[in-house]
Symmetry: C5
Subunit: 306 residues, 5 copies
């Protein structure tokens, strides 16, 4: 079983929004404190690379595929830009949403210029949409590239977003990536821990990091430093590039049970599959993240046996 | 016949503007869902290159020519900057207008500096003009150069414009062009599809792209990836450099029926002709775009036979 | 005779300001549609180069000289920065004023950096001064350097200024200069026409251009393309560097009657003379611009014979 | 004994906030005029370098360690970012807090780019939190890098922060560091004095400087120039890199009694120890800073004998 | 005797502030129209270089020295940053103050980067302080570096400050310095005149310039061009680097009676002396500036004989 949920409401949530914050936190973690996030912000972040090409199921060519997965699979929250959400959410009213507030394309490489990803939407606009439509918008997300020459802009926007989101009872997830000419090894575990600590210092509920490597190899134990550094901010890990299913689920299990991760954030590994397979894969991930299932149990969920 | 119109009102249109949004969408597509846009923003974008010189009819030297075409031809919408519109629209009150909100000259080449085109007018000013004058302003447009070092500025302004335009019942068209030092082949079909997908992610009603090429050759089939990637955002294609009439109309027909385009955006190919010919050419384009006419039927319209 | 005045009020002038706009347009053109503008913004633009030195009359050393000319000569409007106006206009209440909203010094050359001239004052401040003091402030002016890397800033400010000025019934004049590393020949007639067209696209009442040259020689016929490209926006030409009087007046006559110019914008050629001569020279210019006088008639005015 | 406290309320504190300012000044200095500040902003400033690694006690891996020290030790004020405070302060309501308003990571070195640290939070947000929760937030802090190419931004934000903080009765501490390509020796005593003088010119209550060196050696007497230059602004000194306890306490004693410092600002030297030792070390520092204890007396406090 | 005071209230002073403007102008010039300004903004501009070191009296190490001079000496106005003023002015309520709104340190040399000095405080904050405390704040000051690549920012802020200050009845002094990579000889008299003319164009009451040189030698006659170019804007000159007293007073006398200066702005030459000497030196300067005393008479004042 996942740990019992002890929700500590941060002080920047005003009393009149505490109940909503608790409910959102409970929903987004299914009462476990662990986050199961499906990332659907790649149409900007990776252009069409993640949606069309060799090894990608044709279902993924249509943006609606993301909403269908989020609707049928067992997830904590589905992250997308406000514009995409505005075009599809009317038909998928039961999906729990998280609005990704910034995004950039992958065209400019770090060798040309340090990365910068600036707000596309303000928290105020998310709150307005939520309050007017009654959509289940549980939180907001934002990417910070620490070590970039544009770090001051992103640290400022992230700090303001966390503060404003909490003011309106929303949960926050910060994608924390060290990147830029000054960053020699963005997968170094000490640096990843530092990135997670920055998210804690600006008060986010969750920080999403990339899995650290040592000598080019992922090792879940390397995550412990980040989990500790983040304190009350839950750290979640990305699934990274597409892996085969047993390997992926084993990594996830290790991240949680060895690395101390408080969930997962998965994108391509889910949506590049057919709708049916993607839904089963979501459910397998949720079994591990939310039910403390073993890898074998999760594989049965993936196989449709459970 | 063009497909029956199924208007899905995005969620960022508030209830009190839904009716207006539906009417605007219906008008701008003549109830077909397909957009027939005449672009008249080149006085900034191309300075006087498109209006005066060899092969350009003398009628085109006068900016009023654009309004005369838009007034007499059968079009979906005529796009121009607010200033030009303010000087002529009183005399052309029946033209359906779309205000192009940003523009830049063509003087600085990408080899000197990455392209940046910033808002000249705010949606608020367009709405004020519409509401005060009763002009038929149906939408707003904006150009985004993804891959430019100024992408964050343009993505932000575009996202905000779509959100604000929808808030006031206006239709949005985003010109999506990959351009900048980081962009090696801006006509690559996968990249064009990515650009169309960005427009979908920020919630635009339509995205205008340049026709992709393979080995330097246009092929309408290459557009299918973009049409799919954009989902509920309709993709339209530019006519590009001036082509002879049958070739142009065949390309348009292919873009729609092979490439899945939801219309066209045409500028020079129309307005560089005499008023009479430009009007007939508009009507030929509309026959294909709005009536599902064959190329031969459209040529008859162009020839004045229909 | 100059053409009868047909004032077309642009749509961004609200109904309650239409009458004021008509009056301002009538006054600034003496009911002819032609603008006779005396430029007095050089204390920033050219520092003291235009006011003190060889060949410059000592009267010109004192800034009040400009106001004395504007007060005694027959002019359409006198352009100066708000600060200068605030110090002298109380003593020259009958002068028709135009506030030049941006200015830069001439210290940084284009070889060092592309030109940028940013707003010093906002239209709101001009309107406040006009409404409080009752001064005859008829319009505002702004310089745009197209082709500069700072073009987006200046195009934005210019567009906003035209829109805001019209909202308050003010006439607008845009100084349109192609300049920057990307501009190889800023006197090319096709480029000058493009610059005039940009002013039309952002809705200005008048555009001021530098006279185009071919093979280094000014030819008034080269202006026709600009006059056409600007449509309902009147184009006026600068007198350029100091010329002898008959040559200057002949050029002005040609600009109007051959080039289609709608007036003139003159600075140094007027104010570097003694007060008496400057006044007579103003009157000679006005004879051509406002009365359709011949060059010979204008020379008589200059000579004090008329 | 420390000097009797003579609180001179600066004029930018309005009458209705004077009492609060006096109380805050009294609390933050324990009525002595001397500041005993524990810095807890390093999770951004130094990432995880100060919290995990060789020679650092495992207690320090968890951010809560900072709050535990601040809660059990005798301190003047504990400085941290608003986000961290929002997550833990509910459980540590008796700690006196100072919100550090800006922070940057240490990834970009001065050899790559001049340092810039921009506001993450506005004074308004701190005041809102204080007024709503009743937390003991006594002041705000901000770092200025004079000599950086970004100095204008930081001087502006610092000036505004001091003014706004005083308006709401808060005490201000400015971290004044000369740094950037233009700064050859940031530990030069004349330059450090200049930095302290800047803090006085913009009206801060306290300035924190790094201890100056001559020929690479720290000498408390070098601080006298800074103490004088700052006038009524109290100067405090950092403990710098980790030193052994007697050496650290001797330096602190010298800074106060030879250098004229008005307190200390200590971070790593405190929190890298176990909770128990860190608390005793805090108390030893406070004995010197607040009670005018001798080094020997302070060592007894550290040893738990007093 | 100095000329009788003819106060011409600029038009950007609204009627309800005219009386205050007249009073401020009268006070700041002791009814003579000539400005006697003591500059105390060097703690940022020159760090501690002007306050501590060889040849500087120890009295100058303490910032309060400046206030003591301003309080005991006969001056027109004492210029300092708002923060410094806020800390000391309660004890020196009778001093006439001018708030210097921008300042930069001297660390970055022009060879590294063009100079930029940005607003630290807004006029609104100065007005609030004046109105709330009743302090004798008569004006505001600002430095403009024309020819710097940051000229547009500074020209904009200066223009807005003059306009806003006048709106609230405050007198304005602009420090006008040509500086930057584009400026080859910042002491050239024609360029200094241009700088003074810029201050006139943006409507300042006074412009402070550095004394022009020819072949490296100061000559008061060179100032005449600037005095003329500035028109109704009074030009004052700096005392420059420290000179011996008779030489300094002779230069001041020449600047006024040969160069047409309307006063002086003096800093180091005053405050680097002991309090007693500084006060006598102030009085000697005032004798020349305000009483039209001869150099000999002023020397007697300096000597304490008068």
């Amino acid at each position: 079983m996942a740990p019992a949920l002890d929700i500590r409401v941060p002080l920047d949530v005003p009393p009149e929004e505490e109940e909503r914050y608790r409910e959102n936190y409970h929903k987004i973690t299914h009462g476990t404190g662990r986050l199961m996030l499906i990332a659907g912000d790649q149409k900007i972040e990776h252009l069409n690379d993640d949606f069309f090409g060799e090894g990608i199921h044709p279902d993924d060519a249509n943006p609606e595929h993301l909403f269908q997965i989020a609707s049928r699979g067992r997830i904590g929250v589905f992250a997308a830009q406000l514009g995409l959400l505005a075009r599809y959410a009317r038909d998928y009213p039961d999906v729990p949403y998280l609005v990704k507030l910034n995004s950039k394309t992958n065209l400019i490489k770090t060798s040309q210029s340090d990365p910068v990803s600036s707000e596309l939407y303000h928290v105020r606009q998310v709150v307005d949409l939520r309050d007017r439509t009654g959509l289940s918008i549980l939180g907001v997300g934002y990417t910070v590239y620490i070590g970039s020459e544009y770090e001051p802009l992103m640290l400022y926007q992230a700090s303001q977003i966390v503060n404003m989101a909490h003011k309106h009872g929303l949960i926050t997830v910060l994608w924390m990536y060290p990147r830029g000419a000054a960053v020699k090894d963005e997968r170094n575990s000490h640096l990843v821990a530092g990135a997670a600590g920055v998210a804690a210092a600006i008060g986010s509920d969750f920080a999403k990091v990339n899995p650290p490597k040592i000598d080019g190899v992922i090792d879940a134990a390397l995550l412990s430093e980040a989990a500790a550094a983040a304190g009350r901010t839950g750290v979640v890990c990305s699934g990274g590039t597409r892996a085969d299913v047993p390997e992926f689920l084993q990594q996830l299990h290790d991240q949680i049970h060895i690395g101390g991760m408080m969930g997962n954030a998965t994108g391509r590994n889910v949506h590049q599959r057919s709708l049916d397979e993607a839904v089963r894969f979501c459910n397998a991930i949720s079994a591990i993240t939310l039910d403390d299932a073993s890898v074998d149990e999760a594989l049965k969920v993936y196989g449709g046996e459970k």
